[in-house]
Symmetry: C2
Subunit: 185 residues, 2 copies
Amino acid sequence: MAAGGVKVRHFILGLLNEQSMSGYDIKRFLESLSWLIGSPSYGSIYPTLKSLLEDERVSVEIESHPDRPPRKTYSLTEKGRQELDQWIHEPAVSSPSLKAFVMRLILADNMPRDNLVAQLQGRRDMVAEQNATLLETAHTLRQEPNPERRLALDYGMAIAAAELDWLDSVLNGFSLPSSGDAADE
Amino acid sequence: MAAGGVKVRHFILGLLNEQSMSGYDIKRFLESLSWLIGSPSYGSIYPTLKSLLEDERVSVEIESHPDRPPRKTYSLTEKGRQELDQWIHEPAVSSPSLKAFVMRLILADNMPRDNLVAQLQGRRDMVAEQNATLLETAHTLRQEPNPERRLALDYGMAIAAAELDWLDSVLNGFSLPSSGDAADE
DNA sequence: TCACTCATGTAATTGGTTACATGATTAG
DNA sequence: CTAATCATGTAACCAATTACATGAGTGA
């Protein structure tokens, strides 16, 4: 975690804004995305929740069971919403990694539309540029008889192409329907 | 960095095995991949190089220029090659993130072929599984009128699909030419 | 009986970032 | 004349990992 300025604290804040959950729930959700962005350990989730509670960014509802760990469901408080909001409005890193980008995408609910579009656009430009570099490098490498070195390159190009396609179609969807403004559906 | 057990130290070792370079060169190379896996700061590269030198994992050739920082070109030593080798043979984390996977892919040169194929296969299985989950979730979400939440999901599916395609074609390329090992599919 | 899921947490360590310091050379 | 690139490095800080500790319930 902590990719491109997105740290567990803010990520958790963003998840709790969507729905109240326990530390265990958070871990499970993140685990399902670990193939893409990895998953933080309990050792960072629980202490973060604790500090969030101390700072009154979250409130907790405890469901006690005799003789076993109580289930604690955390909810975002007004203060928590404020911190999240503040964080969202501070400028994102200029060239986010795929991971940082995905994390922000997950928190997109909390972002004003124009902020979101700006980030998508920024990402598109960067990926397009890097993809061009990748193509060049691939061309140069084609001469050399070094098949393994090409693996990562190939992979990068495949991902870049897919990402570009996706970004273009999403950006298209954002710019076309809003011919004026309106349309919040 | 430090995704899924791949830390700068080993990454640098792997890069130096391909060719001798300076700290600055390393940074530049990594910078070109930052859209995919991010890039470590100088604050981690230079100290790592220093410790690598102290441990005699690398040797250095200094090109002095009066009145400006000398250009230091690092090369892997035999000890360095050993450490890299040792690291490569220790078991990789079972479910690597995309980042960890790419990092290992970049170091694929140093990997025995069967190790590499195993990792590709493992990755394929995991991505396939997660992709299935993603599809389910997407289906469930389709009911809800919450378009933003779907963004990350959509993105994930697009990337997963591209990755699966790529992995399948690569694995195919590895199993066909060596028509001695049967493919189980 | 064994392994896995549920469910919480803490302490020690470490890996990496941020911010600083320095300064020549080249391109616009 | 300014901005970027080249090129190295250190010190303070902090976020996150690893390893540990606990224990009931469920399914094979």
